[in-house]
């Protein structure tokens, strides 16, 4: 508070000269600075636990993934960020491709996180796994009727499907994976079929998709599993169930949230320490229970609620593909009129 008042009064007098403002840094011995597109309520408990364990303080700034990447790019060598944390492999891949990360490959990370969830050069490390799969209303759909993502494009689902907007990165990554497996033409047909089957304008949020299914506007949809977990937490008796898609073919599309140490980190040592700590069993347990995601650390079990949904076959597509194919996926969806 005091610092703020001080700063703001300084600013009022020196707005045109702009200079005197940089000196606003808490004078702590050790500090890691994190830019995060994971929301504050999901990361704060983790960072607090880290500080308690190690004595290293964590300063963080939340924002939208794309915007933070832009900020990091423009800040260049002067950035304050030691770590960048974001959701979606596409975003992580893009940040890596823009030369924002430095390679980190420590034994701890290698033993905690399986290779397919890490960038080959160690630019970024996945910290949690989220599956995007089919959710359905148990009153109106039998699980036998369901099979694959592509199946949702067939006529039997006409007027029964709800989808999240194509502007959300999870949709983009899923469609990228479809392009990877089926090629552009087939994927265009699938997307077109989805659009024809829509019962409502694509929703802004996964939680809206599930509300729509619950209220009878549609019967099936696609969601990230943790949104389902949150909903069932609040309304345990909802006639809603997850179905693991593509079990006989490519497997459920998975994505990661993750982090990397920035190329121009001023405190790379502490940032690496934080990354390792985040991959540890202790942190992974918090990570999972906070948001009902799957731990990236395979040595620990999922949260009880999450395990109850059953195990499933994951899509083994290299996650970097999601980033590489993202522009194609968006173009394809825009051409098909997927809003």
């Amino acid at each position: 508070m005091n610092i703020k008042t001080l700063v703001s009064s300084t600013v009022m007098f020196s707005i045109l000269t702009v200079s005197s403002i940089t000196a606003v840094q808490a004078a702590t011995d050790e500090l890691v600075t994190v830019y995060s597109s994971r929301k504050e309520h999901l990361i704060k408990p983790l960072f607090e636990a880290f500080t308690k364990d190690t004595g290293i303080k964590v300063e963080y700034l939340t924002g939208k993934g794309g915007a933070l990447i832009e900020r990091l790019k423009l800040e260049g060598t002067n950035t304050k960020a030691d770590m960048f944390m974001t959701v979606d492999a596409g975003n992580l891949w893009y940040a890596g491709s823009q030369d924002l990360f430095q390679g980190v490959q420590t034994d701890t990370l290698k033993s905690n996180i399986p290779a397919y969830l890490r960038d080959p050069q160690g630019l970024w490390t996945g910290l949690s796994v989220r599956a995007r799969t089919i959710v359905y209303n148990t009153d109106r759909v039998q699980s036998e009727e369901l099979s694959t993502y592509a199946d949702l494009a067939t006529d039997k689902w006409a007027g029964r499907l709800c989808l999240r907007t194509s502007k959300k990165v999870y949709t983009k990554s899923l469609v990228s994976s479809l392009i990877h497996h089926h090629g552009k033409d087939k994927t265009a047909d699938i997307v077109k079929g989805w659009i024809n089957n829509l019962a409502a304008t694509p929703n802004a949020k996964d939680s809206h998709v599930m509300s729509a299914i619950l209220s009878g506007q549609c019967d099936v949809g696609l969601v990230n599993t943790y949104y389902y977990g949150r909903l069932m937490d609040k309304k345990p008796n909802s006639p809603l169930k997850l179905f693991w898609a593509n079990q006989n073919t490519t497997g459920v599309h998975v994505n990661v949230s993750g982090a990397g140490v920035t190329k121009y980190a001023s405190n790379a040592k502490a940032a690496i320490q934080l990354l390792e700590w985040l991959s540890s069993a202790k942190a992974q347990a918090i990570y999972g229970s906070l948001n009902k995601e799957y731990p990236a650390n395979q040595n620990i079990a999922s949260d009880d609620v999450v395990s109850a949904w059953g195990s499933f076959k994951q899509d083994d597509m290299n996650l970097a593909q999601a980033g590489i194919l993202q522009a194609d996926a968006v173009k394809l969806m825009q051409i098909q009129g997927y809003r």
Binding site: M1, K4, T5, S8, V11, M12, S14, I15, V18, S19, I21, T22, T33, K39, E40, H41, E59, Y60, L61, T62, G63, K64, G66, A67, L68, E70, R71, L74, E75, G76, N78, K80, T165, K167, K172, A199, A200, T201, P202, N203, A204, K205, D206, S207, H208, S211, A212, L214, S215, Q217, Y227, R230, Q326, A327, V330, K331, Q334, I335, G337, R339
Partner: protein, 535 residues
């Protein structure tokens, strides 16, 4: 005299061009064309986006004009039960951020919302997708933005001579004919000003359109940037928005014409008295608007907030409130200071096309989506650094990025239009005789400014400051991208929670914001009353 003009030209130009910097950055983006992405956009999405944007602008424009002017007319010209407090209450929706109203409305009226559930189960009306087509989102924007037209038209009605209306009536014109033929044309400049602000806000909106998943021109901007990682194309598209805004301003100027109609104010006399059933029907209508645009969403927020206060409330809110207040107050002060410099009456200004153009330029930032403005600023500063390094200097990025100064700069740039239009309106009422008599009495320009202009412009300055404050408090995208560490605001907290679908918890910061906004609007109301009494 020549020298004098030169000085004021320098001053105004420096301030205006500084404020307009993001506009220049956006315009310079054309130096780096990207044909491939443009080809995709123009082939596949642009025509749809342009038509859906135009439909939205048209619908919102007609809607706010009708609702805003009719409400203003009713509270100024007609006496009806409850008029006094409704006149005040109609300002309150200003305090609700558009995206908050949108998520409340979707929560209630979407297919799964309880309003539709009730309709289906009790009335047997089949459910429908309110996000299909454009009517629902148009209605949404009308409910959020009508206060702009209402506020400006109301002020103009208050300054109209009552005998204009009486003359119309005695010539046999019905109240409706008097409204359309006399009162409304006389208030045309005010209606146009309110409409302009509304349309610029609608063009720049991202929150409401993304909740409704309605595609507008901003969708293409975000797609260029977010999906295709091309800041250049995003900026090029944004510059088209600025161009549209420029035309809107031009038409508004034209609509104003040379005419300055108003003179004596109406005092508190109402030409029409609606008694009996008619009066109650009018009350019901006005109250209905108030309910839909404020009371009902507030009630929903309170219900949600109540259920989550234990989860969400913590000491960090003290910090959020502190950051929000400091940013709001500081930004409002700087904005009105700059706007006042631009709006001060002066001989040089009237004759100089240059000055008039740079001032217009300084108000265009309102049409830029907040995040485009923010990236534009970062980008612009980076260019300055590159030039600086080229000439053997140093990068200034580390000084400016992440500083509160940059964020304040963005606010000033973005909300200049609001402050300027309010302050300029009050400057226009300073008749040349005041200047002339003060000059004849030997007053210097400085004395003229301090002792004549500023006191006379005070109501406009205060009103502009309060409106900017409310807008800064609600601002999200620029704050989200530019804020320094530890400067989270209530708007950010609201967004972060609602983005995760946690609307019940998001209601807490939203409510605090609305309460603060309502307080600011009350101050505005009190000032407004005072100034209309002294006029």
């Amino acid at each position: 005299m020549e020298k004098n003009c030169f000085k004021s030209k320098i001053w105004i130009s420096v301030v205006a061009l500084l404020v307009a910097m993001p506009i220049f950055v956006v315009a310079f983006s054309w130096a780096l064309p990207e044909h491939e992405l443009w080809a995709h956009f123009s082939e596949n999405i642009l025509s749809d986006l342009i038509s859906s944007t135009l439909i939205l602008l048209l619908g919102v424009g007609v809607g706010v004009t009708l609702l805003g002017t009719v409400l203003a007319y009713l509270v100024v010209m007609v006496e009806f039960p409850g008029r006094k407090w409704l006149e005040w209450a109609l300002f309150l929706p200003f305090a609700i951020p558009a995206y908050v109203l949108a998520f409340v409305y979707l929560g209630v009226f979407d297919y799964s919302g309880y309003a539709q559930v009730w309709m289906r189960e009790t009335l047997g009306i089949p459910g429908f997708d309110i996000r299909a087509g454009s009517w629902a989102i148009i209605l949404m924007f009308v409910l959020v933005f009508y206060p702009y037209v209402y506020m400006m038209t109301r002020a103009s009605f208050k300054r109209q001579k009552i005998n204009m209306i009486e003359a119309g009536r005695l010539l046999g014109a019905s109240p409706i004919r008097v409204f359309f033929k006399v009162s409304l044309p006389l208030a045309r400049p005010a209606v146009a000003a309110g409409l302009l602000v509304t349309l610029m806000e609608t063009l720049a909106d991202f929150g409401v359109v993304s909740l409704f998943n309605y595609d507008t021109f901003t969708t293409a901007i975000y797609s260029a940037w977010g999906d295709f990682r091309s800041i250049e194309v995003a900026a090029q598209l944004a510059s088209l928005l600025v161009l549209v805004a420029f035309f809107l301003i031009y038409f508004e100027k034209k609509a104003r014409g040379q005419a300055k109609y108003y003179s004596a104010n109406m005092a508190n006399k109402k030409p029409y008295h609606a008694t009996g059933i008619k009066g109650w029907l009018i009350s019901l209508f006005v109250f209905g608007v108030f309910m839909l645009s404020f009371a009902m969403p507030m009630l929903q927020l309170v219900i949600w907030g109540w259920s989550s206060v234990a989860d969400e409330w913590s000491a960090k809110y003290i910090d959020l409130i502190a950051s929000t207040s400091i940013l709001t107050i500081t930004a409002a002060l700087i904005t009105i200071a700059f706007a006042t410099i631009l709006a001060l009456p002066g001989r040089c200004k009237q004759t100089s096309v240059w000055l008039q153009s740079v001032i217009r330029l300084a108000t265009l930032g309102y049409a830029l989506p907040g995040s485009v403005m923010a990236v534009g600023l970062l980008y612009g500063i980076n260019q300055i650094s590159i030039i600086n390094i080229h000439f053997g200097g140093e990068s200034i990025n580390h000084i400016i990025y992440g500083s509160i100064a940059l964020l304040l700069f963005a606010y000033v740039s973005r909300f200049m239009a609001i402050a300027y239009s309010s302050i300029e309106a009050s400057a226009q009422q300073i008749k040349p005789v005041f200047t002339q008599s003060a000059r004849l009495l030997g007053a210097s320009r400085m004395r003229l400014i301090w002792q004549v202009y500023l006191p006379m412009m005070t109501p406009g300055i205060l009103a502009g400051g309060l409106l900017v404050a409310v807008d800064v408090m609600k601002e999200l995208p620029a704050t989200y991208l530019l804020r320094p560490f530890g400067w989270d605001t209530l708007a950010i907290q609201t967004y972060e929670l609602s983005a995760e679908g946690l609307f019940e918890r998001a209601a807490i910061p939203a409510l605090i914001m609305v309460v603060f906004g309502a307080l600011l609007m009350s101050v505005f109301q009190v000032l407004d009353k005072k100034s209309s009494k002294s006029a």
